[in-house]
Symmetry: C2
Subunit: 592 residues, 2 copies
């Protein structure tokens, strides 16, 4: 599969973009005309740069408003095309995207469009060029790829084919199965974009909200399958107009973009390897120059110090299956934060290879004699993911020696980890964590806090053993608030939270205070058994209920940029108490 991307997907100048695209490892590129026009480089220079970078220019785009026009207008179209074919010669590209007329079309007639495209194709063929005709979703008359193909078929010109763009086809709900009725050699180009399933005008949707494959609601593996079965052998090229990617580091976006094509390729089965699904969260690593304050909170919760690492300034705190490593190694000047987490899988090396295939860097871990080799990779957001297997998962805690004390017996394990991502990076993080760790994306929620709406995306393994929540901080609030920006947290599961919290309080644990008004409202919302509301109020616990069960939870104070949640899931409750988030966010906001 040849990979390609349009320069319009990325921020920066044309030269910035070409470097980013080549560095990420793409085979080819679509040159978006406005990028070339604004560039100080001549077309010859751009061509030479692409040659040096090993990038093929697969498409020049777009050529607009070419058909369905009056004869005087068409004379101007031919004049304009002549200039563009000359430019394409200089650039060394043979295919141009011709999109269906939006602005100047006045004749709604397949015969006229076919005849005009054939005359344009004559001109193109004389210069060794080809036209890929695309039906825009908002074309004045031609807005369906099947009609575009009928016109191309009718024009019957060797220099004229179609361009198929997944957005223009799937956004209109057109059945992509008819692609298989187009001969493969007449599909001159395939462009891919995903998009969230929004109900809005298709032009705004297209111009601002496109996403890379796998991030939205379109079935792109099925779409690409139709093009392959039709016999298409050209590049799969990303054309994603997205307000965020236009503003952020092009090198990072390009890696992210290629990752989406890798995921798509895997989904197509051309290089399928089963993703090893993780069983559980094996550990969480919290890093800081000084982790004492975190250690104190963990001991108050009910963790016991299980020992110091034999070679590193790191300590393991454990209780039940919850293991938290406090690491002061290479952490000069940093406040406590979640630096990484571990997952337990059946075949750790396969899982690490999968993550690397998706562009994750292998993390360096110095291995001394007798230490367990846990493969580790870095997520795009810098989080370290340690991968343990049946043996290594049992072995690594043995590297910590000198533990003492007994953990609280109520603690069971790590319920979930909640990381925060900047708004610019959330799509990348969701795509990476989901596909690299084999987690399923659940519906996202928007939670109102005093500094704005916090978008939260939950990812989970099939059996719920691994739950990861990614929170997006309101971007404008970064200017005014530091509270929500760093709201990473680790949730600890227990059997009997009222009992645990009583003992933890006796050990000195402080939790985020819950307003009295919250309990008044809780009593109004839920018809709780007698005494239950009072017990929750006295214990300072938050409560949620759904048809499957109940959820009790509370939060510790924040140390550095991390805090802990204590949770008890009753019966089959599978949520996160989202309705209580505004209360928690406000209380945290007030405590800063």
């Amino acid at each position: 599969m040849q990979t390609s991307i349009a320069t319009v997907c990325l921020s920066g100048t044309l030269v910035d973009k070409l470097h980013a695209i080549a560095d990420a490892g793409f085979d080819a590129v679509e040159v978006f005309e406005p990028d070339l026009i604004a560039a100080p480089q001549t077309p010859e220079e751009v061509r030479a740069l692409c040659d040096r970078l090993g990038l093929r220019i697969a498409l020049y785009q777009p050529f607009r408003d070419a058909e369905g026009v009056t004869e005087p207008e068409f004379a101007q179209v031919l004049r304009r095309a002549e200039a563009k074919f000359e430019l394409m010669d200089r650039l060394g590209v043979d295919t141009v995207l011709v999109c269906s007329n939006v602005a100047t079309a006045s004749i709604d007639d397949d015969a006229v469009s076919a005849a005009q495209l054939a005359r344009l194709a004559d001109l193109a063929a004389a210069r060794g060029k080809r036209l890929a005709f695309e039906a825009l979703a908002w074309g004045r008359f031609i807005d369906d790829y099947r009609r575009a193909w009928r016109i191309v078929e009718r024009a019957d010109h060797p220099a004229l084919g179609v361009c198929l763009d997944s957005f223009h086809i799937l956004s209109r709900g057109h059945d992509p199965a008819d692609i298989e009725r187009i001969p493969g050699e007449k599909i001159f180009f395939v462009q891919l974009a995903d998009a969230p399933l929004l109900s809005m005008d298709v032009l705004s949707w297209s111009r601002h909200h496109r996403l890379f494959p796998g991030e939205g609601g379109f079935d792109l593996p099925a779409f690409v399958g139709h093009t392959l079965r039709a016999g298409y052998t050209g590049p799969l090229s990303l054309e994603v107009f997205n307000d965020v990617f236009r503003q952020t580091d092009p090198a990072r976006t390009a890696r992210h973009a290629l990752r989406s094509l890798t995921v798509l390729e895997d989904a197509l089965g051309t290089d399928a390897r089963p993703v090893p699904a993780p069983h559980e969260l094996d550990q969480v690593e919290i890093k800081a120059q000084d982790t004492d304050a975190v250690a104190a909170v963990l001991e108050r919760i009910g963790f016991a110090p299980s020992g110091r690492h034999v070679t590193k300034p790191a300590w393991l705190y454990a209780a039940g299956d919850a293991r938290i490593v406090l690491n002061e190694h290479n952490a000069t000047g940093t406040a406590p934060h979640v630096a990484g987490f571990g997952i337990r899988v059946d075949r750790p090396e396969d899982a690490a290879a999968r993550a690397e295939r998706l562009g994750a860097q292998r993390a360096h871990r110095r291995l001394l004699a007798g230490e367990t080799d846990l493969p580790a990779v870095l997520a795009p957001d810098g989080t370290e993911i340690l991968i343990s297997g049946p043996q290594s998962g049992a072995a690594w805690p043995g590297e910590f020696a000198g533990g003492h004390g007994t953990p609280d017996p109520s603690i069971r394990g790590i319920d979930h980890v909640n990381l925060t991502e900047p708004a610019a990076d959330i799509e990348e993080a969701v795509l990476f964590y989901g596909t690299a760790l084999g987690l399923t994306r659940e519906s996202s929620a928007e939670l109102a806090g005093p500094a704005g709406l916090v978008r939260s995306q939950v990812l989970r393994s099939g059996d719920g053993g691994v739950r990861l929540a990614l929170n997006v901080v309101p971007p404008l609030a970064e200017r005014t608030s530091t509270t929500q920006r760093h709201a990473q947290h680790v949730a600890i599961a227990c059997d009997d939270l009222p009992g645990l919290i009583g003992r933890a309080r006796a050990r000195g644990l402080r939790t985020v205070p819950v307003s009295a008004n919250y309990y008044d409202d809780l009593g109004a919302r839920f018809d709780l058994p007698p005494g239950e509301l009072e017990r929750l109020r006295e214990a300072g616990l938050l409560y949620d209920r759904d048809a499957a069960g109940e959820y009790l939870h509370c939060y510790t104070e924040t140390i550095g940029t991390v805090f802990f949640e204590l949770v008890e899931r009753r019966d089959r409750y599978d949520g996160f108490g989202a309705a209580n988030t505004p209360v928690r966010l406000t209380a945290q906001h007030l405590s800063h």
Copy 2:
């Protein structure tokens, strides 16, 4: 007219919000339940705070999913309502918003809804409370205010009336004229929100994109007119869910919100004063610790130094009707930037009073003997607006003495001023400049630059004598780019730009380079007269054309955070060469 606002409009905690609302000058407030629930203050404390701040609590909201339910469910509704009426007692509020059922409605029958609302109203009346029933635009069965009124009419209960929300009515395209068929005393509450005319699902539109009156596409003066003619005498209350306002300074948003009600009041004619429309841009003030570099550019353009101010370290540069004041007064440590501009109107004091009525602060200007008194106000973004009249406009340049030299005769005046606004502040800036200066909002454009899409909003006076453009910088790009953030500029109009630019270049002026590819594309797009393309290329000018005329322009280098555009409008061209903006933004990006 009593003014009110819902706490949900603002960021921060409930106490933050109440202070901001009172400080802005509102009469009343709607308490949004989640704000109260999350607050550590008791309802009694909130009540006492509102008393002290002089804020009446006009509404408690929302009470959801009350009617159209089964009897067992309705028993729970009554139970929940009982708790809320008790809470309202403590809070000292007598009206609660009951919105039409979204989640639990199973019975689509006016008789059932009316009977259940009447029973709820019995309970309310017994506690001295009233229910304002509102049809949500996405109500399960009741989504039209006319049906809500039919149900209220049928229930015929003194403690039951309707709440009318402009968004829920106008977003669905329902005719607001039928409001006049509702007796005024049965309209218990009126909520106002504007919104851009988007084509998207109404729930997302409502939750994220509402705006204050005058900022969107709804005719709110007409809407309010219907409620007044119906006999409504209660508060006009803003309920605006907006992602930006949720994240930004509540005090500033509250002032902005009240300004929108003032504008609405003026439009209703209850306190109408004609806005003095400005005739021209009288001056632009550029401030810096050291303005020498700006002076050098102005002299190269063709301005002549018209003298130094008699009492301040400020210099006037003039040419034709263009006057630029370079001010080093109180500017320690600042780089050159547009600190203010002047407008010429018929009655300066009326214009200043109008701006003050819209919340602008009067700017302090120390007036010494013999100096002209130009009233000045500060826009919310800090820009100083100096207001001159027929006499004072002629007089103030006389305060500058010691000028020399002759300006280039081609320069005519100031064509437009382009200010940049943070994304968080654009709605406020557009509302303020438009209404305070009597400018009309033109359609906005989105311009692609190397660091993201730049949204540009043009405001102009009726005769085009004053043109102001407000650009919004891509918010995420602030992290990576400094180029676009400060792209303020002043456009100088001239008669013969090719002639002027030749002389200016001879005086040493440097302009932003235009790519060769731009001219190739220009030749393809426009069939220019022979030699014209070459003349533009040699002069380094950008070109645009529409049906009304032509536009030639170019840009100087940036000094500090300001640059100059030189423009020639031929015939009746009325745009800004927006198609050329990507070329300019890229060239500026490359020069940094």
